[in-house]
């Protein structure tokens, strides 16, 4: 899609201004129902588009992403725009600088249409934890788009932008991509700078692309990856255009299928069927299917729900009503408060229930006497899981699984029980725990209550081997055409 739009721009068949205003028209028409966007950036976007058009007219070379309209999850800083992270505590917060990923796509003349909805501070799997709105799944507006990057996924699926940026801590790019029937890539931990991403759990968070096609995801990933002095966990990667390595050739590719992933009782039958069909399709394409075992996988979700709240409790400490964001300090009737009251009351008033739950869980797990029992133990299990994956990757090139155990669920279906919601991430958290790249691609639809609901296929790869993951995903996608 991006390549196509790019050549139309270069050949003068369309202008970026027209493309951009068409997207704004689509947003105006569809978004009152979908509610994917939390804010729009109309004037700046159209200015940028016109600048790209002038560049083309003057015969200048333009980047693949130049003039192509995109959307950004509202937990990434875009200078001068609000960045709410889906939380009331950051209502009216204006980002004073660009996140590194934003700086990179701006340098390529990307057109940023607006900011998209998410679960508060990316904590959730449905966008229902957003303090502003619940985004609807374009395939069925009674259902969730998944989360936390639900706004970014719905915006792409409903053709309200060409691609978007999301963030993934436990599945937040892949699960909504699966539920909305599009492509979402979580890169290797350290492949993309997290500078300017409002932190949730820093040892898991990664920014990645959400797009209509594997090639688009590859183009965007190539543009945002690489070492950044502002993020000491980012790594130097070989300068590569990942999109150029997509050839559809996967003869001899070793695809690992972990048996445990198909034994879990929460796995929907129709999802299971679609994944089995996908395995058969890989076989037909010349891949070698290898049965593998990842027994420690059953500890993945428990490991995640110890380490992640611990990191959350630390990262959320900055929302104290003092330096930025909403504060009870502003309220005239609160004149007699002392400093600690500002912390206690600002956090009580402006943070949502899921955020509080995780802060408290992490505070408890890290408190005196419990550190060894929870945090340290979880970090050990994390080693164990990593070791299993290292061993598995000696035998296989990619590991195949469902992305989510079920298709999109109904709005309100899982909000009563936090644990129930956590299970939506059962197949995705492991890639974050061990830091490997993983992609979700569409592999057909499930029929539920007369609706066609998308099912996602997940491919996980070796550390920093996004190329293999993208190649394997691309071959599958092309074979379905």
């Amino acid at each position: 899609m991006i390549r196509d739009l790019h050549s139309q721009l270069v050949n003068g068949e369309i202008t970026s201004e027209q493309l951009t205003s068409d997207y704004f028209d689509a947003i105006e028409k569809k978004d009152p129902k979908i509610e994917a966007f939390v804010s729009l950036n109309k004037e700046y976007a159209l200015d940028k588009a016109r600048a790209v058009d002038r560049k083309i007219k003057n015969g200048g070379e333009i980047d693949l992403l130049a003039g192509i309209p995109c959307a950004v999850k509202d937990n990434m800083c875009v200078e001068g725009l609000q960045a709410t992270a889906g939380s009331k505590i950051l209502e009216n917060y204006i980002a004073p600088y660009d996140a590194t990923v934003i700086k990179k796509i701006k340098a390529r003349d990307a057109v940023i249409l607006g900011k998209t909805n998410l679960d508060e501070f990316a904590m959730g799997s449905s966008t229902e934890n957003s303090a502003y709105q619940t985004t609807k799944n374009p395939a069925d507006p009674e259902r969730v788009p998944g989360g936390s990057s639900g706004g970014s996924a719905a915006a792409v699926a409903a053709d309200m932008c060409t691609y978007s940026l999301g963030s993934d801590t436990g599945g937040s790019i892949r699960q909504p991509a699966a539920l909305c029937g599009i492509v979402g890539l979580k890169p290797t931990y350290g492949a993309v700078s997290r500078y300017g991403l409002i932190a949730m759990a820093s040892s898991f968070d990664q920014i990645g692309p959400i797009a209509k096609t594997v090639e688009d995801a590859a183009i965007v990933f190539s543009a945002i990856a690489g070492k950044d002095r502002h993020d000491s966990t980012s790594m130097t990667l070989a300068e590569k255009k990942y999109e150029d390595s997509l050839d559809g050739e996967i003869g001899g590719l070793r695809v690992g299928v972990p048996k445990e992933y198909f034994e879990s009782e929460g796995l929907d039958n129709q999802v299971k069927e679609k994944i089995k069909e996908a395995i058969q399709r890989y076989e037909r394409l010349g891949a070698k299917i290898v049965d593998i075992s990842l027994p420690s996988g059953e500890y993945a979700l428990a490991t995640y729900y110890v380490i992640q709240p611990c990191e959350v409790s630390s990262n959320m400490a900055r929302y104290d009503g003092i330096r930025f964001g909403q504060s009870v300090e502003k309220e005239k009737n609160e004149v007699d408060l002392v400093l600690q009251d500002i912390y206690l009351k600002s956090r009580a008033k402006y943070l949502g229930p899921e955020v509080k739950r995780r802060i408290m869980l992490g505070t408890y797990a890290l408190s005196a006497g419990y550190y060894d029992q929870y945090y340290k133990k979880a970090q050990k299990v994390r080693s164990l899981i990593k070791k299993e994956f290292q061993e598995a990757f000696e035998k296989v090139d990619v590991i195949l699984s469902p992305t989510a155990p079920t298709p999109a669920f109904k709005i309100g279906e899982k909000t009563e029980d936090p644990l129930e919601m956590y299970l939506a991430d059962i197949y995705t958290v492991t890639a974050n725990i061990v830091g490997i790249p993983a992609i979700s691609i569409p592999c057909g639809n499930a029929k539920i209550e007369g609706k066609e609901l998308p099912v996602g296929l997940q491919l996980m790869g070796k550390w920093f081997d996004e190329e293999m993951v993208l190649k394997a995903a691309y071959a599958f996608e092309q074979s379905g055409k």
Partner: protein
């Protein structure tokens, strides 16, 4: 099972004011989650070292050089202070 008073204690450590009713709700929810993560006790980790950094990066160095922010950025940061006096962040008394 976490008691209501334990939850109140955690909330205080986390600097979040909660009501008695919320304490009751969180006591159940947090206990459920803690019960779930108790699964980790089954894992055999006797001879396993905890993860340091997942991709194995260590001692990442860079030059200790200050890069001054632009006046525009500085004003934008100050603009986000909830309460301010001139260019200072105004806070309440500690006691």
């Amino acid at each position: 099972m976490l008691s209501k008073s334990e939850v109140q204690k955690i909330a205080e450590l986390a600097r979040i004011e909660i009501t008695d009713k919320e304490a009751e709700k969180y006591s159940k929810e947090l206990s459920d989650i803690l019960g779930f993560v108790d699964k980790l006790n089954e894992a055999d980790i006797d001879r396993v070292e905890p993860i340091g950094h997942i991709t194995g990066a260590r001692n990442t160095m860079r030059e200790d050089k200050i890069v001054e922010a632009s006046d525009e950025t500085k004003s934008a940061i100050i603009g986000n202070f909830p309460e301010k006096k001139d260019r200072f962040d105004k806070v309440k008394a500690v006691f």
